[in-house]
């Protein structure tokens, strides 16, 4: 009754949710991760320490545990967020932004120190020098590592399958449960879906790298 090809709209719907999780938490992680990186390299010691502590804490926590904190621990502490999508995005963002932060920091460190010193010398504030001088150069260097982080994020969305999110992996398990005779086809269909998503990100990264390439 639930053949994978005749119910292809369900497959698309599931990948739609995967994509939604990816885009929302991807954008949020990029913003939050960049702010964290700025805090870590910035002149305020408290912020730098806090950023470092966040990265150490989150990077040492398995993603599954982060999900458990958001989906199981928070409701028990009466901090429940009613939307499952938002909970998923929060869990993925908490986790991914630590990795974005470190990729960004590597990029910032690749910009020669003289650039930052010169921009401060001509009277730019720290925020201005980050925004106008350092980050634009750093971003070029971080495209490949950020692409890796984002590809990992696409695949990490599948953890949501065990936390009430009917994304691609959850839908795949419904299909295999109902159509045990059709397993290879179901696995293949969903594998192709994930490959397409990952390839799109890779292609985007390659395009950006090429466009932003400068003679050094």
């Amino acid at each position: 009754m639930n053949d994978v090809l005749s119910n292809f709209d369900l497959v698309l719907q599931a990948f739609g949710l995967t994509l939604q999780l990816f885009v929302l938490s991807g954008v949020a992680s990029l913003v939050f991760g960049t702010l964290l990186a700025a805090a870590r390299v910035g002149p305020v010691p408290v912020l730098a320490k806090a950023g470092a502590a966040y990265v150490t804490l989150v990077r040492n926590t398995p993603l599954l545990v982060v999900f458990i904190c958001v989906f199981v621990a928070m409701p028990r502490l009466d901090l429940n967020i009613s939307s499952f999508l938002v909970k998923g995005v929060i869990a993925l963002t908490i986790y991914t932004s630590a990795f974005v932060c470190e990729a960004m920091r590597a990029g910032i460190n690749s910009v020669p120190l003289g650039q930052a010193e010169a921009s401060r010398a001509i009277g730019l504030t720290f925020a201005q020098s980050m925004r106008l001088v350092v980050l634009p150069q750093a971003l070029r260097a971080v495209v490949p590592p950020l692409a890796s982080v984002l590809i990992a994020l696409v695949k990490n969305t599948s953890v949501g399958a065990a936390f009430g999110l009917a994304e691609a992996t959850a839908r795949m398990r419904i299909f295999t449960n109902d159509n045990s005779s059709d397993r290879p086809l179901i696995f293949l269909t969903f594998a192709i879906g994930y490959i397409i998503l990952v390839e799109v990100i890779s292609a985007g990264a390659i395009t950006l790298e090429r466009r932003w390439k400068v003679a050094r």
Partner: protein, 294 residues
């Protein structure tokens, strides 16, 4: 300084261990029924059948669920799973002359029941395994040995009084299960979790509105926490639990059916039910009529 650090580490490990010990939720006394082991079994089966092979070897591997109280449940500290499914396994093993202690219990989840049978990793699957035509294409299913239906578990005083009220509500069950698929088709927002106990916690904590699966399991949870939880509505599906065997050994069907029929007739089936699902207050039903083996 070094000494202090060692002590802190030890304290931390100790705390982690004591936390781990708390994780043993819901394990109850290991009630089970004594089965009559047939010592002469090996000689009663024909040469070349799977039954003969198992009886000669004196051991059998059975796949059961480890996370369904009353059906198939094994706590972290238990040696063997308890529930109706393991009891059925013991009855079948006994007819082969195999002691309960010689049974290897292997955890199967919904996803791996067919692969385990096809790959020969288990000899039988008795894991709340609903009989469906599609499954019968890839594995053999004898039975049913128990018939149940899907119901809803809610917090006491919930708006949900039956299956007609779940439209647009968050309803959880185990990811990929037929129960979840059923409520999705009735307009609920399906929320799949890894185990039934996680799903029950979501109901208790108010993160979802209701939990759904086979009534017998829900009654077990409601009985554990009668002040907070209740089972509402009539059953809205029929699940016929069958015993899975490999298609390579079709001769097993007749043996399973005959053995279970005998257990139904001599009252062993009823005793097994009372010792497991019956403890949550359900009356022992009439044993279901089993499908003929083709």
């Amino acid at each position: 300084m070094r000494f202090i650090r060692t002590k802190t580490t030890l304290a931390a490990i100790g705390m982690a261990l004591s936390l781990a010990a708390c994780g043993n939720a819901g394990s109850e006394d290991t009630a089970s029924v004594d089965v009559q082991v047939d010592e002469e079994a090996a000689s009663s089966f024909e040469e070349g059948t799977k039954m003969k092979e198992l009886a000669d070897a004196g051991k059998i591997t059975i796949g059961v669920k480890f996370d369904q109280p009353g059906i198939g449940f094994k706590g972290a500290a238990d040696d063997a799973p308890t529930g109706l499914d393991p009891e059925m396994g013991k009855i079948l093993a006994a007819s082969l002359g195999i002691e309960p202690s010689a049974i290897t219990w292997k955890e199967t989840i919904s996803d791996n029941r067919e692969p385990f049978l096809q790959g020969g990793e288990v000899d039988l699957v008795i894991a709340s395994y609903s009989i469906t035509d599609d499954r019968r294409k890839v594995v053999g299913q004898a039975g049913p040995y128990y018939v149940t239906g899907q119901q809803l578990l809610v917090k006491k005083g919930s708006d949900i009084k039956g299956v007609d009220d779940i439209k647009g509500k968050e309803v959880c069950s185990v990811t990929g299960s037929t129960s979840l698929d059923n409520v999705e088709q009735k307009g609920a927002k399906p929320r799949g979790f890894d185990t039934y106990s996680e799903c029950r916690d979501q109901v208790v904590d108010g993160a979802v509105d209701s939990m759904t699966t086979d009534g017998a399991i829900l009654l077990g949870y409601a009985a554990e926490d009668p002040d907070n939880l209740e089972v509402v509505g009539e059953a809205f599906s029929e699940e016929r639990y069958g015993i899975g065997y490999s298609k390579d050994s079709p001769e097993m069907c007749q043996w399973i059916t005959d053995t279970l029929k005998k257990a139904q007739d001599d009252g062993t089936w009823g005793k097994a039910f009372e010792a497991t699902l019956g403890k949550s207050g359900v009356e022992t039903p009439e044993p279901p009529a089993m499908d003929p083996c083709s």
